[in-house]
Symmetry: C2
Subunit: 252 residues, 2 copies
DNA sequence: AGTGAATCGGGTACGTCGTACGCACAACGC
DNA sequence: GCGTTGTGCGTACGACGTACCCGATTCACT
């Protein structure tokens, strides 16, 4: 959004009437995304993007009225990436709700891992781009032959979505530190160990102590994620009306 | 974290050897939090904070080695806020797992609503401050007489936590736009309506159309949140070992 | 009481950022 | 031919985080 509070897509289309242009909006957005992927969101400055494209910084403003707009476009761009593999109807839809929800969850997480700057962009930015809208449409398609009401559909995908984003956010916090410092997960954990040990040594956190000592080290975040996602999906399916619930796991 | 990759608490304590100081770390952190609450995270600059305290910008660096450290401290500060109401043992713990999880969820959401800049800080910043650790400890206490293993405990609070953060993040995105533009929720929705109508008019999003037309307008986000939170908690409780599950809803 | 060391507050300055403004140039309709 | 329109981009301004440095204050210790 800019000063008028509208996201870029809700505003009358840009002119781009003229003939020869050495720059183009998709080109700019693409360069910005590539930069963010390679060096993090902080590396994405107008000057850097322009430099990457071999043009002047101010040239970008012929295509984008504000950096914030560019960020909106980046967000929608990567949402469109997922869509590229998908044709008119969702190829992945198995018709079995539990599997579909699982796939949506894992797919969303994979997408965020490909572009770790996504969560930071989504904080404080309502996403309403065309690609995002198509993503929602496709997500809703998993209810096609389930005959549940609109509110339930929104609840269900909303809950799964919220969980996935919350989870990856925590995951990425750790990865981000590792990226910025160049430390491996191993090294970072070792670096933190004395502090953690000091905390536990106070004896003020017996439950945390128990969890750290007895808990299995989640070296593979994916299985951790899968486990928790299944828990959430269980809850979602359990809340469905009975007819839909019986069909959620497919024909027995 | 700074260049060494360690959060501020994992480093040897700052000197603060001398006697009389017109500034103090808690004072600085407090001013920063107040500023963020009042004008948003972007208003939090070293110069602004110093100005608010009637001192020079560079003076702050006697107490904080980097702005990033200050942000870490702000995060832990507000986590401590919640703790202020709580004494040694959690007053709110009912011993009934479902109610405890509900309370944790609603409490966490309330906390984030009090400080809408929290999610943006947590993106890309592992939180390990003492207050945060105490929060975790207290959250784990709800399993005290339930005899479940460490992994299950982490799974359970992790799933609820992740969901809550994901949910409020979406909520706040909308609120943030309203704060920045000064528009009310009503006004903003009206401003967006033509764009949304245009999308639906294309006929390419039949499911989204159905959801928007038939779905009840969630004017009260709290009931929406409560509904979805209960769904997640259902899943969590269902995944507990049977003995614990039977006790989760308390004595019948 | 006198003195050296440490810590305080903060001014100046550098390199970065987003972007307002305006100019030179190219392609078009007439 | 000539205005009109749209491009690319150089310059400049006011923010930002913070490195560096200096005078003033206060402590620890004789």
């Amino acid at each position: 959004m800019t000063s008028d509070g509208l996201p870029i897509w809700a505003r009358p289309e840009r002119k781009t009437r003229a003939t020869s242009a050495s720059l183009s909006l998709p080109q700019i957005v693409g360069a910005a995304v590539k930069l963010a992927d390679a060096e993090g969101l902080d590396a994405v400055s107008m000057r850097r993007i322009a430099g990457e494209l071999g043009s002047g910084a101010m040239s970008l403003y012929r295509y984008v009225s504000t950096k914030d707009d560019l960020l909106d476009l980046m967000l929608d761009e990567v949402m469109g990436e997922t869509l590229a593999d998908i044709d008119e109807e969702w190829a992945g839809a198995s018709g079995i709700l539990r599997n579909d929800l699982l796939e949506i969850g894992h797919g969303l997480r994979a997408q965020v891992h490909r572009h770790p700057w996504l969560p930071r962009l989504m904080s404080g930015r309502p996403a309403f781009g065309p690609n995002m809208v198509r993503c929602i449409e496709i997500a809703l398609s998993i209810f096609d032959n389930l005959d549940v009401d609109a509110d339930t559909m929104m609840h269900s995908v909303g809950a799964v979505n919220a969980f996935v984003f919350g989870f990856v956010q925590e995951e990425l916090a750790e990865l981000e530190v590792q990226r910025q410092t160049g430390l491996s997960e191993q090294e970072w954990h070792e670096r933190m160990a004395p502090y953690i040990r000091g905390l536990l040594a106070t004896g003020k956190y017996p439950r945390l102590h128990k969890v750290i000592v007895e808990g299995s080290d989640p070296d593979d975040h994916t299985v951790e994620f899968d486990g928790q996602l299944r828990i959430v999906i269980n809850g979602v399916i359990a809340s469905l009306p009975e007819a839909a619930r019986r069909k959620a796991d497919g024909p027995i």
